[in-house]
Amino acid sequence: MSHHDWRPLRLWSPARFRQPGPFDGVALVVVALVVVVLFIDEPHVLPRTSATLDLAPVMLPLYAAYSGLRMLAAYVLSLGFALSAGYWASASPRDRRLILPALDVLQAVPILGFFPAAVFFFIRLAHGRAIGVEAAAVFLIFTSQAWNLAFSAYESLTTIPKDLRTAVRLSGADGSVLWRRLLLPACVPRMVYNSMLSWAGGWYFLIASEIIAIGQGTWILPGLGSYIGQAIARGRAPLAVAGLAMLVAVIVSMHLFVWSPLEAWAGRFRYETSGAGEAAVPLVRVLAGKAPWVRRALAATGQAAASGLGMALVAVAHALSGQWMRVVGWLAAAGAASVLVYGAVAIVEVLLRPLPPEALTIPTALGFSFLRLLAAYAISLAWTVPLAAWVSRSARRVELVMPPVQVLASIPATAFFPLLVAGVLRFGLDLNVSAILLVLTGMQWYLLFNLVAAAQGLPEDLRELARMTEARGLVYLRRFFLPAALPSLITGSITAWGGGWNALVLAESVTADGRTWSVDGIGTLLDEATYVRGDLQMIVLVIVAMVGAVLLLNRAVWRPLYGRASVRYRLDG
């Protein structure tokens, strides 16, 4: 029935696969142009010197606050972007055909590869002041938060039940009443859920951006990531552990006091009045029992967080419903046009140069990197599929498994990178081991979340059938879970590979014990081109090769698979 069209929330939605088009090629070119523009001025080398940071543990709360503020700034930007893009795409079928594939590509390309470029750009923009590095970090986090939020806004707006739309329209509501009473509330459930995922992704990137600690001696981003990185670099393991503990504490308390109350509150914005997942019990209530003060504190924090979010959203909505949208649109168009022209000139110049000898190593490097991704993907599948299948057998298991998993997934593996590499080096293991492990941390959660969403979506009657036919183990997996979960498995795989390529940039070349350890791969090539030689041509070639590989994989493997799976294994007839 159309007015009960509320499916389990997914990070990636099937809707986006409907419009394969020539736009991907255009996007590839645009992306390449942007890189060239970002890199266009000499010098390109940013020496990777470690600036000093006060490692006294008393400074930790301050650093946590710095990191948190960066996240918040990026998140507010992301929300504004997501609502604008989502509303725009939902309101204009013509523009939608451009916006959705653009978001698709942006989500799939390894953004971390662009980080050095972004740092150059923002530092120049800020005339060499530290604020430029800050802006680059915020931008990087933004790129990890914005796309899935935009998709969730788009989906929320397009899945408002038709009768509800008609009723509100007939009541004469428009402008700010329309936004306040219909559009924003409709966005709440998906956007709250996706905000949680966005923050998890954001932490990953934040820590990465701080650990890379780009700067010319004086530039440094004080924060938890840089703290941990510095502690490791100076061989102060206990301090690194203290930093990690602080990070975990921040993330856990965000779950307890922000996400879990928000999620419970978001329940009232669902259309469905009964059914799956309606009574999401906040984790804090589970942990702390039902003491009245807990409940009061919970209600207060939930209210505060929600009203803060609400105020930000209403502000954005006001901007959207007014002339602002047009102004922003024109500005964006003007910006894009100038980048295109400027970039077109530059890229011709870069590509007309004779290929450097290193360019010949790109295909092999790409192959090695691909194998690492494949290994990490196999490991991810090996544990996420059985777990999700186990979870799918009863609704209770979801409630049992998901809260701790959400917290675990939010803890950015990037914070553990230095420790992990130090461990691998100490035990004399191949650096490939650490590279694969690092990539794994960038892949596995996407798979798990999508699979669990599918597990939740398994119809109750199929569950009962499985129980009554005593289908267990492989039979259950083959006949029940996998067919039902296949579309989710594929969308999860695409996101996982996207995360994997990103992690690759960090994983293949690591600085520890005062020297750089690396394995052959595309991430190492990028690293060397950026930090060692400042070779613009190689940077462009490597990034284009990597983006091309990602898009090719999506086109040639995932999309056809998805097309077939979604026809054959539909559950909603």
């Binding site: 007015h3 039940p161 009768d163 509800l164 008609t166 009723a167 509100v168 329209r169 007939l170 009541s171 004469g172 509501a173 428009d174 009443v177 009473r181 219909l182 509330p185 709440v188 009232r268 914005f269 669902r270 259309y271 009045t273 009964s274």
Partner: protein, 247 residues
């Protein structure tokens, strides 16, 4: 005969080249309850939405208050089969939505909403959220919201089909009573239904439609006296007649 409130004159509608409604003509007169009845595919809901001004006719015209309709019809309000309540607003806020859209201050909105909720028998539930209400209560909120717009013509889109038999029965009587109630200005209604018994029980006139494309077969005047009783013998001839028309 008095001037009709709403007239469809040769109205037709196609979607993507498929004709859904073909050359439909009928009037809605002040103070009557008009039922549109027909099998699925007869374009009942489309006709109702044409009267509301939600769907413009692709041929012919729809007149309201003597003028050709070009946009939303300000003289109508709709009650939906699915209730179409905003789940995040309580009953009073749902009812008052049309007032809020017009910029009526909050205190005045609440006063009017409370009054309307009283009228539909939901006094005391003003602060309840839709999910806390039963199906029948939700549809009462939907009814109150429609009445809040003080429409000259109330549009009912299969308003009782999502309700259980007993609740539907009570609510039918309530709608008929409300239309005869002096406290509200609305006296006229157009109702879409697929139940012949329901049409005969509630309506003054019934427009019988046939499907593919939707067109009028006949207009039946149900001149049985009120108050009526469900299944009363005096309704049987009308029920039989309508069945005969539709099959």
């Amino acid at each position: 005969m008095a001037e009709p409130l709403v007239s469809l004159i040769g109205a037709g509608r196609s979607f993507d080249g498929v004709e859904v409604v073909h050359d439909v003509t009928f009037d809605v007169f002040d103070g009557e309850m008009l039922a549109l009845i027909g099998p699925s595919g007869a374009g009942k809901s489309t006709l109702l939405r044409m009267i509301a001004g939600l769907i413009p006719p692709s041929s012919g015209e729809v007149r309201s208050g003597g003028r050709v309709l070009t946009g939303l019809n300000p003289d109508t309000a709709m009650v939906f089969q699915s209730f179409a309540l905003l789940p995040w607003l309580n009953a009073a806020d749902n009812v008052a939505l049309p007032l809020e859209a017009r910029g009526v201050p909050a205190a005045e909105r609440l006063r009017q909403a409370a009054h309307l909720l009283d009228l539909v028998g939901l006094g005391g539930h003003a602060r309840a959220y839709p999910r806390e209400l039963s199906g029948g209560m939700r549809q009462r909120v939907g009814l109150a919201r429609a009445l809040c717009q003080a429409p000259r013509v109330l549009l009912l889109d299969e308003p009782f089909s999502a309700l259980d038999v007993l609740t539907a029965h009570t609510l039918r009587d309530q709608v008929v009573d409300l239309l005869h109630e002096a406290a509200i200005p609305t006296r006229t209604a157009v109702m879409v239904t697929h139940s012949v018994e329901e049409a005969a029980y509630m309506a003054d006139r019934v427009v019988a439609l046939r499907a593919n494309p939707g067109r009028v077969v006949d207009v039946v005047t149900v001149d049985a006296p009120r108050p009526r009783r469900w299944g009363a013998p005096e309704l049987v001839p009308f029920v039989d007649r309508l069945y005969a028309l539709m099959t």
